[in-house]
């Protein structure tokens, strides 16, 4: 027994040692490759926290509205013109949505194009303090659309009339390029009774704007809308929201504007980009008889400065954001050079005026790009900089 002892002990020790370490290593390896659901719940919690952190940087929540803190910028870009317009053409975007769509549709709009609005408000039938959405006190459904619109615009007027110049309505499946909207609107003032969108011609004298493609009212137009309901000039005429809006606008003397670019190409679009570019709509399709202006198929369908597309799904929102704000061809000189908006925009009290009393833009050669105070009349420099 005694002579066998050490050897057996050694072998026993060897086996025990191997086994112990094997179990130990397996445990480590096992922990590294957690079962999938554990990993995903952990990842989801981390994602949610990350999301909250990033949201705090992007928006200031005031009641149910999101005030944009960080107008998105790209490294290496010269966005002086866009920044200038951001200050001078303040847009409140309100998005028509419902509780069922928040996670599947609305959140994607929130994380993409709505970041470019000055203020964004999500209008629903129900209050949701987290998203946040405003509860308009309506029900859900197609027949509620005009009720929602009436209440949404009244809400915007009551709460934010002084904080914005223009008031845009969009659906939760509309993608809006807000910078291009500012370009069109910079040619007008918020005191004009005017509204813009994709102009349709039937049922009304001056036409009306497609609901899905989004439409934008000037402050004066909004004021007249609200007044119209007070004085009963405007009522809930039909649940066809865009037509009803058009009828009210006509009644209160708000002009249906022409939103086409200087090549007469449309900027607001009732369908997705792919359809406008490639689809051959049959001649019996309602679209042909509805459009106020002549329709172009193929590349002329859409302005370089397009403003909106409708029926955009979740993936489509990110795709549009990528195409608009990210993907580009290095050094490419675009064929279409959009005309610079005129300089007579209302600006802050701090700025000086020239002898004619018009407020002017600062030039690109400014050292600090002083956005507010004008120096010289050099609008031409901006178009050259493009």
């Amino acid at each position: 027994m005694k002579t066998l002892g050490p050897r057996i002990s050694f072998y026993a020790g060897f086996v025990v040692g191997t086994f112990t370490l094997y179990v130990f290593l397996r445990q480590l390896w096992f922990e590294k490759t957690l079962p999938m659901h554990q990993v995903t719940t952990l990842a989801r919690i981390q994602d949610y926290q990350q999301q909250l952190e990033e949201e705090k940087k992007m928006w200031k929540k005031e009641g149910s509205a999101l005030f944009n803190l960080e107008h998105p910028h790209h490294i290496g870009e010269d966005s002086r013109m866009a920044d200038e317009l951001y200050k001078k053409v303040r847009i409140l975007c309100w998005v028509m949505t419902g509780p069922k769509n928040l996670e599947t549709k609305t959140r994607h709009a929130k994380y993409t194009w709505s970041r470019h609005c000055n203020i964004v408000v999500f209008m629903s039938s129900v209050d949701d303090p987290d998203f946040p959405t405003v509860g308009l006190g309506t029900k859900e459904g197609r027949d509620q659309l005009y009720w929602k619109t009436i209440r949404a615009y009244h809400y915007a007027y009551e709460h934010y009339a002084d904080e914005a110049d223009w008031f845009l309505k969009a659906d939760d499946d509309t993608y809006v390029i807000v910078d291009n909207l500012r370009w069109i609107l910079a040619n007008h003032t918020p005191e004009e009774p005017i509204y813009f969108g994709r102009r349709f011609k039937p049922y009304t004298k001056q036409g009306y704007m497609s609901g899905g493609a989004g439409y934008v009212l000037s402050k004066e137009a909004l004021r007249r809308f609200v007044e119209g309901f007070k004085s009963k000039q405007c009522t809930h005429t039909t649940s066809v929201e865009d037509l009803a809006m058009g009828q009210c606008m006509e009644k209160v003397g708000v002009l249906a504007g022409d939103s086409r670019d200087s090549f007469h190409r449309e900027t607001f679009h009732p369908f997705v980009l792919e359809q406008h570019l490639t689809a051959k709509f049959p001649k019996s399709f309602w679209y042909w008889s509805y459009c106020y202006y002549p329709i172009s198929e193929g590349p002329n369908c859409c302005s370089d400065m397009s403003i909106s597309f409708h029926y955009v799904d979740a993936v489509g929102m990110y795709l549009m954001e990528y195409y608009t704000y990210h993907l580009r061809a290095f050094g490419y000189r675009y064929r279409y050079q959009p005309p610079t908006p005129p300089a007579h925009l209302p600006s802050s009290e701090n700025c000086s005026t020239d002898s004619k009393g018009t407020h002017l833009f600062s030039t690109p050669t400014d050292q600090q790009g002083c956005d507010q105070c004008p120096l010289q009349k050099k609008n031409i420099a901006f178009s050259k900089a493009q």
Partner: protein
């Protein structure tokens, strides 16, 4: 008793070490089989703004001239609609876009190689391109499902000398061979193509037809021939490490990003200066054409140090 205990402890220690060594060896073997893009492959980046700023205007013009691209687009009549879409979209931005087909088509013009074998066809196309290059010094091989932004390709290779052997794109590894994946586009400098021509004459190392039961993809064949000629695959990427040549189409990449980076989908997905996307349908190509060459947000300008002008007789860019 003490010697028993000692032996036991010695045994345990040795057993532990033995187990560690085994597992280490095991994992080492495992990882070398499944290595993907590791530290061995080379990265190619576009010149930085500072690098470009230092160049004189005349030098920039010289480089712009040097970086003109001969596009080799490999088509087949059975996918006519893709062929037509490429013809109508991005290929207009090549300095010379030549279509090489396996068999002639009455509908569209191409160089008819009259060759069914994929590798033999690619060889013939490359030979034809080399012989007809004129004064173009860069070659880009694409499939009809690839969408390429030629200006971004030019930006990537702007400061590279075409008299050096360059072979770049989406570089991937298969075993020991590093090759440029076909559907994301293959870029060859004049020197690389020249060396390849010499290699083509060597039937031993670079045969035109392999009668092996299992055929290697023509992109791997190309890599092998180039490797024997001393030319190695390099990966085109941006400064954030994002690949500029993409095998997947942009919609799939966004869908993947929605899963992987739900709070930062676009930033986490695709590069700003992407050169290619593979697997694109004709409609997706028309949309990308508009998205790249037309659509943009007003007031955001990039004062790039080089200007590329739109091609003549084109209405969709």
């Amino acid at each position: 008793m003490l010697s028993d205990g000692c032996s036991f402890m010695k045994g345990m220690l040795l057993g532990g070490v033995f187990c560690l060594v085994l597992s280490f060896l095991g994992s080492f073997n495992f990882s070398s089989e499944s290595s993907t893009e590791d530290h061995h492959h080379h990265h190619i980046y576009a010149p930085s703004k500072d690098e470009l700023k230092r160049l004189s205007d005349s030098r920039v013009e010289e480089l712009k001239n040097q970086v003109r691209v001969y596009c080799i687009i490999m088509v087949q009549p059975k996918i006519l609609v893709y062929w037509a879409t490429v013809l109508d979209t991005w290929s207009k931005h090549c300095d010379n876009a030549v279509f090489y087909t396996s068999e002639g088509s009455k509908a569209l013009e191409a160089v008819d190689l009259n060759e069914k074998d994929d590798w033999a066809r690619l060889r013939k196309a490359l030979i034809h391109a080399y012989e007809n290059a004129g004064d173009l010094r860069w070659f880009f091989v694409a499939q009809p499902t690839t969408f390429a932004i030629i200006e971004n390709l030019k930006y990537l290779i702007l400061a590279k000398d075409p008299n050096e052997p360059f072979y770049l794109g989406n570089a991937v590894k298969s075993g020991e061979l590093e090759y440029v994946e076909y559907s994301s586009g293959i870029v060859l400098s004049y020197e690389a193509l020249k060396r390849l021509m010499t290699m083509f004459k060597d039937e031993g190392q670079c045969p035109e037809r392999t009668h092996a039961l299992w055929k290697m993809g023509e992109d791997k064949q190309l890599a092998l021939c180039l490797k024997y000629a001393g030319v190695f695959a390099e990966n085109g990427e941006d400064r954030h490490g994002k690949g500029l040549f993409n095998k997947q189409n942009v919609v799939n990449m966004i869908k993947q990003s929605m899963q992987d980076n739900p709070t930062d989908v676009v930033e986490g997905c695709c590069p700003d200066m992407a050169v290619t996307y593979g697997g694109m349908s004709p409609n997706q190509m028309h949309v990308m054409m508009f998205g790249v060459y037309r659509l943009r947000p007003y007031g955001h300008d990039f004062h790039d140090w080089l200007t590329f002008y739109p091609p003549k007789d084109s209405d969709n860019d």
